[in-house]
């Protein structure tokens, strides 16, 4: 894993690297079994008591369920220091959690993307803030 010192997520409570692996911060409803991402964005099954929602981390690895290649810069407030277009965006499936999550794909060889391939959660450095910290977002890359 890369050196995560001096890195900060642009918005908190979405991506965690305290375990030594980069993982997405989800929540699970122990009543209806649904996983949420982001964790505050509840999507309970109708009739669920909504009791026992606990924070969980998604597994580090998942499978590529879909992807697109974006050819135009994403407008503000999206911001990166380096030009990233064209960039891949994937839907990564976490099978056991029954959830698919979107994220930028850091691969530069976009032709190598294939549905079903194994992907791992990583980070993308977006820009340096006034405190000289690297501001990051979550992202995915192919498992080599």
């Amino acid at each position: 894993m890369e050196n995560m010192a001096n890195k900060v997520a642009r918005i908190p409570n979405l991506v965690d690297w305290s375990t030594g692996e980069v993982r997405l911060m989800s929540a699970k409803c122990n009543s209806c079994g649904t996983h949420f991402f982001p964790k505050e964005h509840y999507q309970h099954r109708p009739g669920c008591s909504r009791e026992g929602v606990e924070d969980v981390l998604l597994p580090q690895k998942g499978k590529l369920a879909s992807y697109t290649i974006q050819y135009y810069p994403c407008p503000a407030p999206f911001k990166t220091e380096k030009k990233i277009t064209p960039y891949g965006i994937g839907l990564i499936e976490f099978e056991e959690e029954k959830i698919q999550v979107t994220g930028i794909i850091t691969e530069t060889d976009l032709k190598s993307l294939k549905l079903g391939m194994e992907m791992e959660t990583t980070i993308l450095e977006m820009f340096t803030n006034e405190e000289k910290q690297q501001v990051v977002t979550w992202a995915f890359r192919a498992v080599k």
Binding site: F36, Q70, C74, I89
Partner: protein, 379 residues
């Protein structure tokens, strides 16, 4: 005053004036105003009904302003219909007007906890068409939809748009031209995605027999419904950052719900419909909506398209107006505009794109984050 200096209420006034003239109705006969909110318009846009009323002369009638994203117009017409159907009023006006900001639509708040839209713009790198491209790729894998199928939608829409004097884009495109257009988000190309537009639309709903008899071929609303999403819908919704991996509900379940409610309420089903205006925000939408609304089984829309079963002259004419592809979308106006297109087909006003003998028409919308409306009309 040039087009670019005009504000949303100028456009709204043109649409309402047109509706009053078309229906041969005096302003004073309007007993309720159901107004689509123009979200980029500040106080004026959020109280668009009051602003509009002041232009035509304030009469003290109930004015309700409503926002349901791209299905805002559906909400307005549904409220107008329900007001008349409930006997609260005899005649109600529904309108929507929108001046779109240039380029991609983007974030409107800064609180990431309450508004997941903030996250997708600040960290996700996810403009709207990406959501459609992600679904389109899944569809290509699952059902064998090809790039030619996606291009064919634009070819057909542009053929109709060229015959529509009111279309914004009137150039017919060849398959080759569409396939040579640049990718916005692979597999969707520039000509396969509709742009944002400026526009206004207005509909008058009445049960007043005298007014109906004075109108030039009034059409009947058999049902006008709204739907929201159903738990387990696998579609990745615009604004969202995740979706269920296991489907427990149909795709685009908000539109599935709205259309099924309309079929049930009207007693009219897909087989009875001659004209369908569906929300072709992208070529993917054109295909999936035929399935979502029950015009064919899942995975069969591509064949319908290839076999010419959605053309003017076939049993079902899809988007004879040229669709959003030829008009763009003006958020609060577009659902009403679709209803007007349907009404004009039934009234035989389709000109070079008239669907001969059209007796039943359906307008279907699609809005952000689980909003949809269906209106079924007959002559």
């Amino acid at each position: 005053m040039g087009f670019s200096e005009k504000v949303f209420s100028d456009f709204a006034a043109v649409a309402v004036e047109g509706a009053l003239k078309d229906a041969n109705i005096e302003w004073k006969k309007i007993q309720a105003i159901m107004a689509g909110i123009f979200i980029y318009g500040g106080n004026a846009g959020h109280l668009s009904g009051q602003y509009l009323e002041s232009i035509f002369g304030e009469t003290g009638v109930p004015v309700v302003n409503v926002y349901n994203a791209c299905a805002t117009g559906s909400a307005a017409i549904r409220m107008a219909y329900n007001s008349v159907a409930a006997g609260e009023t005899d005649t109600a006006l529904a309108f929507g007007a929108d001046v779109s900001p240039k380029g991609f639509l983007t974030a409107k708040s800064d609180n990431a906890v309450q508004d997941r839209d903030v996250i997708r713009w600040k960290m996700g790198g996810l403009p709207n068409p990406i959501y459609w491209a992600l679904e389109c790729r899944k569809r290509m894998e699952k059902y064998g939809t090809t790039e030619e199928d996606l291009a064919l939608v634009k070819v057909l829409m542009s053929e109709y748009g060229a015959k529509n004097p009111d279309a914004r884009f009137k150039k017919p495109y060849t398959m080759e031209e569409v396939l040579n257009s640049v990718y916005v988000c692979d597999p969707l190309r520039l000509y396969e995605i509709c742009p944002v537009s400026t526009g206004a639309a207005a509909v008058i709903v009445t049960a007043d027999k005298e007014l109906i008899s004075k109108a030039d071929k009034a059409v009947k609303i058999n049902a006008t419904t709204m739907g929201s999403s159903i738990y387990g819908d696998p579609t990745i919704r615009i604004s969202a950052l995740s979706c269920p991996a296991v489907a427990e509900a149909p795709m685009l379940s908000e539109s599935y719900s709205a259309s099924r409610q309309a079929y049930e309420k009207s007693g009219i089903g897909p087989d009875d419909i001659d004209v369908l205006e569906l929300p072709d925000n992208s070529s993917w939408h054109y295909l999936v909506y035929l399935e979502t609304c029950g015009f064919c089984k899942e995975g069969e829309a591509d064949k319908m398209l290839r076999d010419g079963m959605t053309k003017i002259g076939a049993k079902l004419a899809v988007n004879p107006s040229g669709g959003f592809s030829s008009h763009g979308e003006a958020l609060s106006a577009q659902a009403l505009w679709q209803v007007i297109e349907c009404a004009n087909q039934l009234r035989g006003r389709g000109g070079a794109r008239q669907v001969e003998g059209a007796k039943v028409a359906m307008a279907q919308t699609y809005g952000l984050m689980g909003n949809s409306g269906t209106t079924i009309l007959t002559l």
